[in-house]
Symmetry: D2
Subunit: 284 residues, 4 copies
């Protein structure tokens, strides 16, 4: 994996931003391996992602941050820079369904997803062996009827302990408390098993079956306090027909869920996503 | 085009239906060019489509109908049989947007869609020349503010006059009165410019833009008195990204709308659709 | 899983086949859960798949076979009947790439693929731990330069020992000897990492990159003595662009390979495939 | 339509190109509406497209060209700049199949494709009325057996007369002479009715049918002297099955051809394509 810095910027659009930023990078000998720009006419907002070869720069990350600050202030930028060789710490929340979890674990294990999976937390114990085979800590935290908060308190403690930077809800099936959504804003990624905004909430495949749709889908999105309303990262669909019963939809949907979550998570881990309001800019 | 009879059946499922029907066809020397069956476990309902070479049968359509009646009664069938060489009469309702209308006209003109386009009715006059070039009558029936019913009365009169068997709403943008929906139940085909049930009602592309979806779609469905709630015939989607503004969504959507309507209409014209409750069985 | 019998038939087309077969099934009280028919005008050939609830029939499999023989002879049928509760024994051949193997193992382990994975044979040892975690025997049979036949001899011995009914080449990367292809005709399933017939042979993603295609694909097919020329079961594609380098194509291709192989293998295991000449009829 | 200048650049990659170009634009008050960059590690080549609001610049097109020349020389750029309000003159070459031609005419007529269709030349006369309804000159230039050159000579004369900047082969079905390919290098766009490199040459749908592929496709590419080998602009596919005969493939293929050609042509007309060797960079 190449050692690069990823510089992400969003700011009000005006003449000269690209010139200013690229001149700064060029002045410090930065070699761009990727550069993506987006100007949104509706909102008058500008978005930018630069990926720079670390070994080409005459600044390290700390020096870059300090030196860039005056430009950022001048253009009222929201910005951050990350190091491609510093994997994000992620914690996965799961329930008893294995497909999304197994898929992420496989992609991580085979070197396709660059991250550190700090732990898996589940409200069922059935996936322990699969997780532990990967040498990843597994925490079984049941959800008690009438005392869900106890579960979430324990989850919160573990998230802190593992210093989670990104939380993946891999068919977790619990609604995160607002406070947790706030605390980890823009860092909690969910896979919803429908093509949102269709079929919000429970049993989307059954809803889809009853409506007689000809395509089913899945949606990877950031979690906010509003259920299934957060910024969408990725979606995809699969064709179905009258020949498919409810179980078939569930089965076919699993493959869409896996791939949509994997793509969405990858965008996030590679710092390709800028959240703006309730929407995302994806520099793929 | 081959001369065939198309026999469509739906009935409560039980042992022996296929045997009974296919024995009847075989007894009358019928050569099957297509045969499709569907058994729906949930509802306990059975669906069947047989396409039979007309020249192989020792019965004509009228004789077939009479002879088959006793089987139909025995199995409580809803059924009909059509002649592939008798094109359905269709009337197209349009507004000022041309893409769906032009697409249907082209497919008809080039011999791809087997139907008789009896007339086009529109509440704007801008598409007259395009329609009349095809030697199809064009009726401009404006919609007056405060007196929409006058428009629908004239439309109804024309539908009767032309003996319309199928009505296509090619981006007609008006909500048909319930009475008309009832009268032409299962014969009115609409193209909605979203992936239903997402974005019911007006301006679906703007709704899609504001929600930040990553795919836009279109839905071809039978019209019922409930807006955008009728049985879905066909759907498809197209990928979009943050780079696309509202106008881009509208433009990209046009291609999906055209193809989804064309597919749905084709299924209908070839008698490949069985409506069952609020869903469809499509024998493609 | 429902207990059914699957009756697959192909024969020269003529009037009355469906009637004959469905009458036979009906006479023996058979309840059809699925019935699919295909008549190919070009070749004058007829194809049929019936899935019958085992508990509805007044015959067991052996009795059915005996009783059906006279019809089969009369219509010159190639046919077979299988029991849905008797899983096929499969042996997987792999190399060092893990993605297809891991995907099949997962689907089997989670109950999605109904089969018995008798063993995995690989010419590298790196996947042993993953396979053995599933309690499946793993055989490391290296390929020696200059003496490949020794490898194939050992493979053949193991296939016999395990009584393999289906052999899956999960990115095996070796060309099976003609004799083995012959012996297991119609039972060896390969995943080729291109959209055949494009990019036959080695390094298809590199070929695709050099040609500048805008979609890459994968093909699941039966193996014959002609390299990458056997009957195609399933194909799919994924969009790529100039932004993707060779490694990206390999990575994106893995997901297509996995899903195409999984679908193709499922069709095969559920007896949904009829091979006819160098093509397949898939009763999905 | 917004009035913009489109600046397209390709050159050997090095540090500072973006800075240099964007500083130049910024110095002249240029407001970027789109900016896209691509760096190809394999070839060490850099590609860039900037779209600049014309009314923001303090230079007109001629002044820009003169002023930018020294930067272009310094970085050994191949480059050009175009005016979005100056539509390209295109000439369409057709045969007797109408679908691609009708689709382009419709998109042009409805204002979706920004170009000037100077003329249509066909080797059959059947499409005259459709073309002339659009007030576009139609030239019937038959191909005589044994004297094809006569046809091409007349075509060449007409291309010169109409000062064609882009030539669209809309299912033209003739192989252009090498000399013409050379003369209009990078300006002749063809739609091939297969997913290249599969099924080069004649009757690709029949080849596809015989091979039993599960997807058919279409390819839009620049024409070079090597048949069906030129740089690919766009491709897409459509699912088919054993239920589709050769005529079905042809019919389904028409829709893919239309949409692939329309997309490819749009990219070309909006100056979104950079040809590099035998590949394209598409700034969509």
């Amino acid at each position: 994996m190449e050692h690069t810095y990823r510089l992400l910027i969003s700011c009000p659009d005006k003449v000269g931003i690209v010139a200013k930023v690229s001149q700064f990078i060029s002045d410090h000998k930065g070699w761009l391996t990727e550069a993506s720009y987006h100007s949104e006419a509706d909102s008058g907002w500008f978005f930018m992602r630069n990926e720079i070869r670390a070994d080409s720069l005459d600044l390290n990350l700390q020096q870059f941050t300090a030196a860039f600050e005056s430009i950022a202030r001048e253009y009222q930028m929201r910005w951050f820079i990350t190091d491609s060789t510093a994997p994000k710490k992620i914690v996965i929340l799961a329930s008893h369904a294995s497909h999304c979890l197994a898929d992420i674990l496989y992609r991580w294990h085979s070197g396709e997803l660059h991250c550190e999976i700090a732990a898996v937390i589940a409200n069922h114990d059935n996936l322990r062996s699969m997780v532990e085979w990967h040498d990843i800590p597994f925490h079984y935290i049941p959800v008690e009827k009438g005392n869900k908060q106890r579960h979430f308190d324990q989850v919160e403690t573990l998230l802190s302990k593992y210093q989670a930077q990104t939380i993946v809800l891999a068919r977790y099936m619990q609604i995160l408390p607002s406070a947790l959504c706030q605390q980890y804003q823009g860092q909690v990624i969910n896979i919803h098993h429908s093509f949102l905004p269709s079929f919000v909430g429970a049993n989307p495949y059954y809803q889809a079956y009853d409506r007689g749709v000809k395509l089913i889908g899945a949606t990877c999105h950031y979690v906010t306090a509003d259920l299934d309303q957060g910024p969408i990262i990725e979606q995809d669909v699969e064709r179905v027909s009258h020949r498919h019963n409810k179980d078939d939809l569930v089965r076919l949907g699993r493959d869409v869920e896996k791939i949509v979550l994997a793509r969405g998570l990858r965008y996030h881990l590679e710092d390709r996503v800028v959240i703006h309001g309730n929407k995302t800019v994806i520099f793929d």
